[in-house]
Amino acid sequence: MTKTNNTCNTCISDLTRRDFLKVAGAVAGGLTATGALTNSALASSGGGDIPLEDQKAMLYDATYCVGCRECELACKEDNQLKEEDVDDLSGHTFTLIKLYQSEDGSEESFRKYQCMHCVEPACVISCPVGALEKTANGPVLYESLKCIGCRYCMQACPYGVPAYDWSEAYPLIAKCDLCYDRQDGTACALACSPGALISGTRGELLEIAKERIAANPGKYHEDRVFGEHDGGGTSFLILSGVAFENIGLPPLTEESIPEQGHTATKAVPYIFGGAAGLMALAYRATMSSEERAQIQEEYSKEEGETA
């Protein structure tokens, strides 16, 4: 053991340097383990064992939508939400139909707002306490009991979906759960009489969407389905007759948001490990010759004792 004699009582000066190196190594090791866990968790966040094409999903064909808002009513009833008059999704409104009109009035389209149930959701990766979960069957679910109310999910969601009940002193997040407990589809799709909303598996819905595109060339924007690949894919697929950005869909790349941040997360353990290593190096390299001599002395003393 090193003696703590003469020098400053309250600082680290007279040290057990070897112990420091050991501990720094252990700290770095521990953090590296956490980092490794991080990466494997990310890899498996794609929805468990059920293949993507068999997961629960919905298709919204905006060209079929007449704006009757029966879906909104059905959602309110099914989730027992209170009536309110709002312009955006809110703590009491999980889905909303909005009308887009171009300035000259030549073009118009409805758009159904609701949780997109992303394949790799930004909200799930951002929540620090894991209150949001991508379930194996597709729906992204919110566990209100875990939530601490940091609102990072609201910030991270590119579609602006998670909403708060701001009138509460201790509020919770609210959003669509894709009627995860219903076997017969979703309440809103069942209520849709024009056939704009269909629920089913992601695979069969993509097939229907592609058939419609093939049968009506030029009818749909870019002849593609929004959500097949956008932002890593969604379980709420959209067909639109007008440009996606006109009905408020964000310009996402095919890379999901968690995937984009992944590079940074992946670097964490190396940064921690590197920092510990660099510090140990700096510690040795910048030591004065007197200090070196002092350590030498300590070493030889200890060896003398054990011998």
Binding site: L15, L31, Y164, P171, L172, A264, V268, E291
Partner: protein, 377 residues
Amino acid sequence: MTTITIPKIKKEVPLFILFLAVVALLGIFAMGTRWIYGLGAVTNLSDTRPWGLWISFDLAVMAFSGSAFSLAALTHMFHRYKYHNIARVALISGFVGYISAAAALTVELGRPERLWHYFFYWNTHSPLFEVGMCVITYLLILTLEFLPMLLKKLEWNRMLKGIHFFEIPIVAAGIILSSGHQSSLGSISLALPLKLHPLWYTPMLPVIFFISALTSGFAMAILVGLLGMRFFKDWHFKKGVFSGLGRYLLVFLSITLLIKLGELAYAGELGLMFENSYQGKMFLIENAMYILPIIILLIPKINKRRPWIFRAAALSVGGLVMHRFNVSFVGLAGAQYYPTWQELLSTAGLAAIGIILFWLIASNLPLMEDEKEASSQ
């Protein structure tokens, strides 16, 4: 009767601190309104603007609390013992900074009573989880680093010796943890590629957050050191401490600025700042507050004079605070937002509590090692 000697607490309270105490009380009152009436009633936050002044305050305070780790690294890892006393001051300012930032969470979170969930429900791939964990552990480390001063004052020598044995590992762990969390504060915004203005959004955000926190650590140490010498007559620092810190500040300011502008140039987005937009102007002001101190610190005679070093340090702390506000507020898309009086008052109150706490610690604990002890190192 057993006697426990409790050291005398300094009695005379300066007017300035009394004023801050009033601000603190008003702040606690404003915080009370949030706990009773809720976020919706007392803030201007909304679904499209879920983060406001409190988050920016947290980011800014945590950044300049980097003084604790910049100076700890300099003194103890790089063996620059000359900075020993100023490192103590930096440690205390970091410590109180983290305490007031953590206290802000009690109003900022929707469910502050569930803060303990951090320990039970882990989502290891959330940057915010990383931040939270690092902050909690780092606060513990800071407490351990701070404890010896308290124990020395109380003359609990056996405990002092116990803690003393672990000091180097504690300091090293502290530096690693705070480096990690400063950069993960930057990763938080990586999840917002569509919301954050391209002037600030870059994959380099974690690096920028880390380097700029390190930089402002030096600036903050200069500020607190020079300001503190007016209030505490017993504060003394070795010759050349401030001009030395000024040199480190110059080096790190330049690195930060190079990374920030270099990355923008690489992305071909330099032109954005000259667009006559609100964000463009804010970006220009922010970076002017980096460039001005660099100029001041480059001028040969001026960079040795304390008033100018002080000005340079104040400017760079300002630039850092601007950067954090820009990333978390100015540059973020969302609904119109301006803080309410409750948000402003509670933030002022939290800052006041931090300063009062600093004053209490600095006027009662032995921060300064005297020359003899320090020289024996």
